[in-house]
Symmetry: C2
Subunit: 274 residues, 2 copies
């Protein structure tokens, strides 16, 4: 499955500083339909989340799946059935409009990207918000751990692995990981830093040997773009939010709505809260 | 509501060291019905959990409630519907027999304690395992933080508070906390230590002034027994596992099964895993 790339309008069109803008201000802009690009580098210090909208008949099984696989699927919020607000994540959130761009999947296949999903939200819809890597990358950068894919302006490379997930109902499969090259010294520090962020994938799942987790060629990622290694650097792997998306698409649910990769829900929850 | 006290057979009847015994060995003894007392000080280093068995029709709402109130209700595991095993918590667990003692509640009222619940487990039963304070008390004792209630051989005092919980479906109410007296120096250290244990209630919810969280008299706990303060000590409050029990009993579910307070499920999960 090819990743659905970000909308091409990823250049920052804003006349204000998106890094320090409030989550509510940014959500208001997304709600108006004026922007459908990435939320990277926006509202620094606030938790951003992946979105998966599941019919209620599968929601308990999906909650179990996430609870059993907290590294790839850290639950940040679950909506009430049919209620598009997410009171615990922000006062004014309407999940039908407040994400810059949504992907629609029918029978597990991507069919379209849309800027609001009012027509797709149903009486039995349940929105799951799962932690994403933006928050931990922010923490790593503050700790001066290099983010190579950003330095060379690429999408982080992501790989299928042989790491089996704990199944629940129709949800099962193997973990997808993202990879960042760094020195072993940085890898140790990065492990300590990300351990403090269990809601954004937590500690690495592996450091060093790709073959150990079933990856054969680092230069051929399943999603994203290859990255570059400098002398003495080793690959560090974290559980990735593509994991639950993959698993949901394979679960045989007729219509699933997710965020468009990179276009997250920006919540009012500070990233550092535990 | 008075707390259902532990069975009187709380003295250790075992001919081996319960602190270093394996979870599987202890569960085997509980399974045989030979012991119905507390699991305190057993299988040190392994996560113990509270039990609440909920019919599937309320299970998604209860999962939401726990996700929204992680300090009092940290989810350690959720069974498949009608499946009494808990594969993610241990290979051989049968939740119908492997807890020393169970409490049965009908229409929110305690009716009986039993040593196994084979007759109560139904096709639509879902078992929730929630973190309990035993694991964090172990970590605090290793950090030399005093556990006064243990020193004077009493049950930790627990109090209703004015701290509103985030509601979900029929589950709503206020938080119950446990309290431990200590110096401010120890309270700061205890905060840092327990922050590392989000699955066993995490950081304190308050330090210092009971009135701030709606407690009028520390000498008159709602559950457990009053404790003793020494010179210069202040009260430190943690979210307590009685919270979800209270909330479940008030939710209007005809039959609810829980562990008998103090008699937990001992899992194979190391306490220190994050």
């Amino acid at each position: 499955m090819a990743i659905e790339q970000l909308d091409s309008s990823t250049e920052n069109p804003f006349a204000f500083d998106i890094a320090t803008a409030s989550p509510a201000r940014l959500r208001g802009i997304f709600r108006s339909g004026a922007y459908r690009g990435t939320t990277a580098n926006m509202a620094n210090g606030f938790t951003q989340g992946n979105l998966a909208i599941i019919p209620e008949c599968h929601a308990l099984a999906f909650a179990r799946f996430c609870q059993r696989n907290p590294k790839p699927c850290p639950i940040v919020g679950i909506s009430d059935t049919g209620d598009p607000t997410l009171r615990t994540l922000g006062e004014d959130i309407d999940i039908r409009t407040d994400v810059p761009s949504y992907n629609i999947y029918r029978d597990g296949k991507f069919t379209e990207s849309v800027v609001e999903i009012t027509d797709f939200w149903r009486e039995d819809s349940v929105a799951f918000i799962l932690g994403c890597s933006f928050s931990f990358e922010e923490a790593l950068m503050q700790a001066r751990v290099p983010m190579r894919h950003m330095e060379i302006d690429r999408v982080v490379p992501m790989y299928k692995t042989s790491i089996e997930l704990q199944p629940a109902g129709p949800f099962r499969g193997t973990m997808v990981v993202s990879m960042r090259p760094m020195s072993m010294e940085d890898a140790i520090r990065a492990s300590a830093v990300t351990a403090r962020y269990p809601h954004t994938h937590g500690m690495p799942v592996h450091i060093g040997d790709p073959a150990t987790i079933g990856i054969t060629d680092l230069d051929d990622p399943d999603w994203g773009e290859p990255t570059e290694f400098r002398d003495g650097e080793i690959p560090v792997f974290w559980a990735c939010g593509v994991t639950p998306q993959n698993v949901v698409h394979a679960a045989g649910i007729p219509v699933v709505v997710t965020h468009t990769p990179g276009s997250m829900l920006i919540t009012d929850i500070p990233s550092a809260i535990s």
